[in-house]
């Protein structure tokens, strides 16, 4: 995974609450068995509407997504994260994220930033007023700046470190292989097995 340290870019203001993963990528698009190729399906149904914010050329090239609360609710499909990533987004800013979606983001290096609703609103208003506004997401300093806003955000130390270094989760866990083996020796034999 590509490390995330500091990113500066223009933003797409998606002023909706409870954006579910079915809107991000519809189920019918999940039949691909490859990791790539999901960007084309991002918000496909909403993009049918000419007034949808992604169809506004002023926001072309945005790399930061601003959204309402509970972003990414619904299904566990990581394809939603892949689609956002492939469409060029590097960071998402919202008042809250659904748990599984947030986890999925951190696995591929798309940084979810949780900020208070009024801060997200201020960013959205600024970007809507002036789409050329740039927002800086600084994971090292745990700060979002731009559009007259300067706000600190929280993120677990371990996740932050992993994102800063671009580390593979599996590789990190395999450092504990001896502990996994030790645990396996203590598991009760009565637990179900398919063998």
């Amino acid at each position: 995974m590509e490390p995330f340290r500091v990113h500066t870019g223009r933003a797409l203001p998606l002023d909706r609450a409870d954006v579910d993963t079915d809107q991000i990528v519809a189920a019918r698009a999940l039949k691909r068995i490859e990791r790539a190729g999901f960007g084309q399906f991002l918000f496909a149904d909403w993009r049918q509407d000419p007034s949808f914010v992604m169809n506004d050329a002023r926001f072309d090239g945005a790399t930061v997504l601003l959204a309402g609360p509970n972003f990414g609710c619904g299904s566990s499909r990581e394809h939603a994260v892949w689609a956002l990533e492939e469409a060029g987004f590097r960071s998402l800013i919202a008042p809250s994220f659904a748990d599984i979606f947030r986890n999925n983001c951190t696995k591929v290096g798309l940084l979810p930033v949780q900020l208070p609703p009024e801060t997200v609103r201020a960013l959205m208003d600024a970007v809507e007023r002036d789409p050329t506004t740039e927002i800086t997401v600084d994971l090292e300093a745990k700060r979002v700046t731009g559009a007259g806003v300067g706000a600190a955000f929280e993120i677990e130390d371990f996740t932050r470190w992993r994102l800063l270094e671009g580390l593979d989760d599996i590789g990190l866990t395999l450092r504990h292989e001896a502990e996994i083996e030790a645990y396996e020796r203590t598991r009760p034999a009565r637990l179900p097995s398919l063998r």
């Binding site: 502990e179 996994i180 398919l194």
Partner: protein, 462 residues
Amino acid sequence: MHATMGERPRTLAEKVWERHVVHRAEGEPDLLYVDLHLVHEVTSPQAFDGLRMHGRPVRRPDLTLATMDHNVPTAPGPEDPISVRQMDALRRNCEAFGITLFPTGDLGQGIVHVIGPQMGLTQPGMVIVCGDSHTSTHGAFGALAIGIGTSEVEHVLATQTLPQARPGTMAVTVQGDLPPGVTAKDVILGIIARIGTGGGIGHIIEYRGPTIRSLSMEGRMTVCNMSIEAGARAGMVAPDDTTFAYLEGRPYALTGRNWEEALDDWRSLATDPGATFDREVLIDASELRPHVSWGTNPAQTVTIDDAVPEPADAAAERALTYMGLEPGTPMREIRPDTVFIGSCTNGRIEDLREAAAVLRGRRVREGMRAMVVPGSMLVKRLAEEEGLDLVFKEAGFEWRDAGCSMCLAMNPDKLSPGERSVSTSNRNFEGRQGPGGRTHLASPAVAAATAVAGHLAAPEDL
């Protein structure tokens, strides 16, 4: 959730969690051991590719079970070549990595969250994961069951563990007698309407109280299934005699002395008296009525006696436009054209019995499309042994093979733009059952009554 400290009273979730900690360090997520990993065709191909790319084997194929459910056709007809390709990929991956697979056509095949419990693989106190958000279903047995994404699927395949930040605990206590015609589906829809789609974010919900205790295992599974619709990371119910009676005699259930030992252990899992939760919600079941959704998220729900509400915010306005509904319209005046009974929420034998009881001797309203998609091929066979298939067919329902089907419209079962369904599934998101389709979530009893009445209805209306 905090580390164990002496004799401090603990919750069910804390007890199961603590048993599975492989590695714990300050400032890191806990590394949890996974007792059962369920795999399906949609969220796994990229995970298997990742293993190949790094030359990693599946650590515990003996704790991994795969089935095909999301894509599978439930009726004869031409197969979508892209779906076939995805199912073939699963078949090849299971062969290559030595994983047990229940493919289409096998009696063991079915929705992943229906087959685990029916085989007796889902047991109290286990940690269960699956690349599917409705994994929370298995929490009905007092297991900690977590939905994961594809990167995590790869992680579990490679290590049999999952790093998880410690969540908060939340008690949803339901007390009071369920009024006639009110089902487990109405309980969970009522809970979601109360706490909201994000109400459980960062928490494991434990459903407690006499009303939950009075539910069957199928009912508890329905409740736990939709924990994710309340935003929760998992939902759980403490195991009790109802749980043990359900498990006893199933293919993977224990026998003899092992069974007795397991019972003693499972009884010790219940939340200790005096244990505290980070959040508590109390629901009075006696005030519940059959619930039906009107909008495009599962919290946008009212009772069958209500009318479509005045929009409270922009999201509600948007939802009403999408759903083609006017505020003030009585819910009973809404006329779906499609009835879907099935899914991991309501595709088990008890759900089919509930619907069949309403349909016996009645007919589906002229012009309506109605289908039953059993949650597994075994559920289908059980239902046929009880003659439920005849009840459905005589009423005018299509009687299908098992799969996820119209819950998420990855197979040919879908709504056309503007079509309206009453559906026993779990999500009424825009386009969930087909682009432009409109979904009203409800219980199997309400879905069946609606099929007969031609408008949203409760069985008492017939």
